[in-house]
Symmetry: C2
Subunit: 345 residues, 2 copies
């Protein structure tokens, strides 16, 4: 009999509420014969304030014992900017070698977009997750003086770029349009840009049925608002991916419905699934948060673990729910309930 | 009697056409007593192909003899990506210490935007122009092998950050809303982020009447499409500024009307004014390019040289022209003529 051993990290702010709905829908969609075991972890601001810890070695070992991780959101204004981000979220992405940061963007029927004319939007961004400007390499001398110099080093390796580019080509090949766009800034960041461009062009030869193109990141932001339909699959570096996926989420219905997966395709470490949104402390505990992004992240989690039919059922349920919701204002719990009913039905 | 000694660099593609209109409008708006002298320089793809040069020491000396520079656009597909960008455009920004890269965004009446509901957009971005990831620091080892490592170093100094932050505060203070937003990614790029944030907070104390806030660059892209009216003045680093100003141009009428100034406020070197758009080789020589962005860049040039009334006249003319244009398709030349008439009248 099958089983899923899931690590659950509700985290801070609305993380608690949305993860509860994610689990509700997960339980509703799973076939009877699949045994779901969950273990909750208390990472985030409260643990940090209580113990000063963000993620200990023992935590990492405990997390490793799971098939996957479901994360709500980490972050609170009471903790200095960056402490939880670098001490927990990025640390985990790097330790568990989540080199494919997968972020789909689909504008579902009935969903509002800030763009005029309700354009067709259906693309995925494959964001590199373990290199680039996110490595924490850098430093500062004469800190706090008028002579301070602060550096940040973007580190890019052929090994790291090739594996994520290869993953993106495979994803593009599996989609009807079979189109892959490399986004970088190779006219300015020449060293990293040449590495990315050369590897992209080399791997392209192995995927002759995939159409390719290249855009500078600045131009990509223009197309994301003027012609998002031009995109099918995008592959890009860690920082550019961070920036364009928030923009992509904004144009395709907002961060209330933007899901993401931090994936280690080799399976050597558990992959982690989380909504793109943050902990939104201003609305926490009020039942105002939209759990759809977390529930769609559960779909990505199921797909990653091989439950394709269940993943598709969640995605269809969210589509139908959004199309049907009209102007009704529903609580976090009500949306979770409605989706649990749909996926079970 | 007054005079302007202007270096003119038409450059590649549509650069030629739009600069011609910029000069036409400049001549029409200048009072009789101002003597305009222009010298044209042939930088760009043709010069590069003919001589292999992008910008020689002698060129730099010659450019220094001018009060300001008007640039069309540099770049052509026949030249490898980055050669002209780094060998000419960025080289000049760095050599002439253009640390204020000024990019206003205003959605003018009658201008189409990809955003629904025609939002109010009227902000300026002060992009740092001489530091950050644009310094060309970086390198590659084992280049072209499976073991390549390529780095890019973002270099940030207290000196460089403070002067541009100070400039942005002064600009914010001079505007009715007096609001300044710092855009960075200080939760990930901790060293550079702390430097920017600390200096921003320190300088803020000297401008108590300026309201300040902070946004991560990813969040800033969301607000640029969901609530652009929240922005008044933005100050940001070289790369983030590159990205968000293209997005800002897209939402506020497109790069056909986006102007920019590469400014050295001390006056030690000539400042350079250019449309945000590129050389657009696909439409070059067909009279299809909108010269408005170049003409608005001429307005920034005039303001920089102290001709405030003339700058305002050009901006008003472009506003009126855009509001009046309806669906008529006009050539580059016709738009330039219409604006020359308006500013003279
Ligand atoms: C919280 C932050 C460190 C993170 C990132 O920059 O990757 C977030 O913006 C994201 O996109 O998941
Ligand atoms: C052409 C390129 C080097 C340049 C930049 O990145 O600064 C351009 O995109 C700009 O914004 O002026």
């Amino acid at each position: 009999s099958r089983s899923i051993n899931l690590a659950v990290i509700p985290g801070d702010g609305i993380g608690q509420e949305v993860v509860a709905q994610g689990l509700k829908v997960l339980r509703a969609v799973l076939p009877q014969d699949v045994k779901l075991e969950t273990r909750e972890f208390d990472f985030g601001a409260r643990r940090y304030h209580a113990t000063g810890e963000t993620l200990t070695d023992a935590d990492v070992e405990a997390l490793k014992q799971h098939d996957a991780i479901l994360l709500g959101a980490i972050g609170d204004p009471s903790v200095p900017s960056g402490v939880l981000e670098r001490g927990f979220l990025l640390k985990l992405r790097f330790l568990f070698d989540h080199y494919v940061n997968l972020r789909p963007s689909r504008l579902l029927p009935g969903v509002a977009t800030p763009l005029a004319g309700q354009p067709e939007i259906d693309f995925i961004v494959v964001r590199e997750g373990t290199e680039g400007p996110y490595t924490g390499n850098g430093g500062s001398i004469r800190t706090g003086t008028p002579h301070e110099v602060a550096t940040e080093v973007s580190v890019n390796t052929a090994y790291g770029v090739e594996r994520v580019v290869r993953d993106a080509f495979a994803r593009a090949q599996a989609r009807p349009r079979k189109k892959l766009t490399l986004v970088h800034k190779n006219n300015v960041l020449a060293y990293a840009g040449h590495l990315w461009t050369n590897i992209f062009n080399k791997v392209a030869k192995e995927f002759p049925d995939v159409t390719t193109d290249y855009l500078h990141v600045d131009a990509a932001t223009i197309f994301l608002v003027t012609d998002p339909a031009r995109f099918d699959v995008i592959v890009t570096d860690n920082l550019f991916g961070d920036i364009i996926t928030d923009l992509a989420a904004a144009v395709s219905g907002g961060i209330g419905v933007a899901a993401s997966g931090n994936i280690n395709p080799s399976g050597a470490f558990p992959s982690m699934f989380e909504p793109v949104h943050g902990s939104a402390p201003d609305i926490a505990g009020q039942g105002k948060a939209d759990p759809s992004a977390t529930i769609l992240s559960v779909a990505l989690l199921l797909r990653h673990l091989g439950y394709e039919a269940e993943a598709a059922r969640i995605e269809a349920a969210v589509s139908e729910d959004l199309a049907a919701r009209g102007d009704s204002v529903r609580t976090t719990d009500e949306i979770g309930d409605a989706l649990a009913v749909r996926v079970a039905g």
